[in-house]
Amino acid sequence: MATADVTTDGPLEPTFGPQSTRAAVIVGGNRIPFARTGGAYVKSSNQDMLTAALEGLVARFGLQDERIGEVAAGAVLKHSRDFNLTREAVLGSALSPETPAYDLQQACATGLETVLGLSNKIKLGQIDSGIAGGVDSASDAPIAVSEGLREILLDLNRAKTTVQKLKIIGRIRPKDLAPDAPNTGEPRTGLSMGEHQALTTAQWKISRDAQDELAFNSHRNLAAAYERGFFDDLITPYRGLTRDSNLRADTTLEKLSTLKPVFGKNLGSEATMTAGNSTPLTDGASTVLLATEEWADARGLPKLATVLDGEAAAVDFVHGKDGLLMAPVFAVPRLLARHGLTFEDIDFFEIHEAFAGTVLSTLTAWEDEEFGRTRLGLDGALGKVDRAKLNVNGSSLAAGHPFAATGGRIVASLAKMLHEKGTVNGRPARGLISVCAAGGQGVVAILEAA
């Protein structure tokens, strides 16, 4: 048997460095409107919705029979039968059946991570085109049999004699028959995501008014974007929906202020998180078409933006060192430093609104001198995000948040915004994306106008 040979005769220098990579451009995107759980997509599966978003992308960019380099997508709430969800969606689409695909899962960062992974493959020359995406259904969520019943059924499957089988069946107790539905609770803490954020919101002393205002802006900005037709080439209707069903164009700060708190009610401090300033459970899917410049040019397709770089981070949230959804706070300064950038160099900030409190805690941490010094290793605060540049076309509080679909929604919208903006002070317009995720994780990225 061969053993690994650690000695080498040749030089260890890499054959090519980062300089030799190609640009990964965002050609465009397509998503279906996001629907509140139990709404228009109540009976649609993840595969149905991902296929619908993919088919819209195929139609928009004329990709019928096209063999795409690779398609990557995923879902957070996933049935075990959907192990090849993305490949099945490809086979159900008009793309060439010779298009390979893989599933990816990184909680709510799934969608953004598919964009980064495929961009890297494009930059490295492994593929010339890719479709990134994500989908989630809270309506059609998997429900598993209880752990007790699962073990019994597996034992039953292994049993050989009738006596063995009867013995095993006799082990079933009424409690085993209760199904096991998914929830948004953290396995290690037992706290729901909302309860975790309530701790963080209280720690950073984020007021109820500030959270309601952020939610109000999200609805107002998203409604305005729809009104001026911003989403006309980003969304295809599905099941009768033409707009995100969570959007309340007519909501007011007064209305938001009347809602009762739903998270953090058992904290010592005042509970501030309501159904209005937290994202609801949502169903939906999104896709993004990525390519080399040559591939897009050869087909006469647009080049909206390039994927400059991305960064993942994780925090030690289990015993409360940091808040569950605070990982992007650490990822962003690392990513900026790698490119010698500051907040001044960013024209759009897309900070995923899991909860209004998440966005505000993140901004507050970046503005905090001591946090910047002690936790981020900077000379002082990272900086202040200009609110006029924050989620200017609305975000998850208004659009909703089908977990894995959010990354694709943000990337496609931001790419279009950057393309419209063009250049700023002679440099390409730049946007920062920040997505927090369960498990104390976060993925962030920078896009530049192409």
Partner: protein, 308 residues
């Protein structure tokens, strides 16, 4: 052709009521020992206007036959939508053949334009081409589906049914050349798919299509109509084959199927799909054939062909 005089119905007729009606008529005929006495097809068509798909029912249909739940109506779903109108024609007092026990021989559908689930549709159906068959009398039931707004023809279906053992005076039996003699020469190819159909396959399709013909529902109800067990709906099988052909097919296509040996449930069905591409690599047609993997008997065969 000149369409027969339309009778506009207020709403889609209820299939369950039509089947009860048909059963009563059949019982009456058995007791009185008389046939309907008619030997011509009624010169009328039935029409229902402003029909719209129910989205929940559509999704259930799509999932059952293996289609992705898209906003476009599968061609077989349109057949199910038009079916009550067709059955109401076949259930008329002046219809010469008994509805119950009718055998679906062939089906040909032209999907001219994709139909979105939200479209209002006008559905018209009539019967034509009454003809002799070596085993009885056959006729075609035509259904046309038009856009409620533009009046454009979107979908057209022709279903050929056989009333077995019913011979109408004045209608000749054809020569033996018209028989399905090719079945015995069938050599099964290697399958491209193998379906496992449960006993409840007929009930599941009845629930989404509304076709509660007793021959599909249970062993007992099928036996009451002289079969040795319940059989799968022909259109369920053909619709699964169409779903198997997949998204490769063009927007407008024709889809035909000829039914041979019925599929008694539960069953394993072997399927072969052969796709033909034009030189440019675009899809031209897919031919399918399904058979019993144990006996090698052919269940059905057909094709999906791009329309120019």
């Amino acid at each position: 052709m000149i369409h027969p005089q339309p009778v506009v119905l207020g709403e889609l007729p209820s299939l369950s009521k039509l089947y009860v009606n048909a059963a009563t008529a059949a019982a009456r005929r058995r007791v009185l020992g008389a046939s309907s006495g008619k030997k011509r097809l009624p010169a009328v068509s039935h029409e229902v206007r402003g029909v719209r798909a129910d989205v929940e029912n559509l999704t259930a249909y799509q999932h059952l036959v293996g289609e992705t739940a898209s906003d476009t109506l599968p061609a077989g779903y349109v057949h199910a939508l038009a079916f009550p109108v067709s059955i109401s024609v076949m259930n008329r007092e002046d219809f010469p053949l008994p509805l119950l026990g009718m055998i679906h021989l062939r089906n040909r559908i032209e999907q001219l334009v994709p139909i979105q689930f939200s479209e209002e549709l006008d559905i018209r159906s009539w019967a034509e081409n009454l003809a002799g068959h070596r085993a009885g009398t056959q006729m075609d039931v035509v259904a046309e589906v038009r856009s409620g707004s533009s009046g454009d023809l979107l979908w057209r279906g022709v279903s050929t049914y056989l009333a077995k053992g019913v011979f109408l005076p004045g209608i000749d039996k054809p020569g033996s050349s018209n028989g399905a003699s090719g079945a015995s020469d069938f050599v099964p190819p290697n399958p491209t798919a193998l379906w496992q159909l449960n006993l409840d396959t007929g009930r599941s399709y009845a629930a989404v299509s509304g076709d509660f013909n007793p021959i599909h529902l249970s062993v007992l109800s099928a036996k009451a109509l002289g079969l040795r067990g319940s059989i799968a709906h022909g259109m369920y099988l053909a619709s699964r084959a169409l779903a198997d052909v997949g998204a490769v097919k063009s927007d407008s296509f024709s889809w035909d199927v000829t039914f041979e040996a019925p599929v008694f449930l539960p069953a394993r069905v072997a399927l072969d799909i052969t796709t033909v591409q034009a030189e440019a690599g675009t899809w031209e047609r897919s031919d399918y054939v399904a058979w019993n993997p144990r006996s090698g008997r052919r269940h059905f065969a057909g094709s999906v062909v791009a329309l120019a």
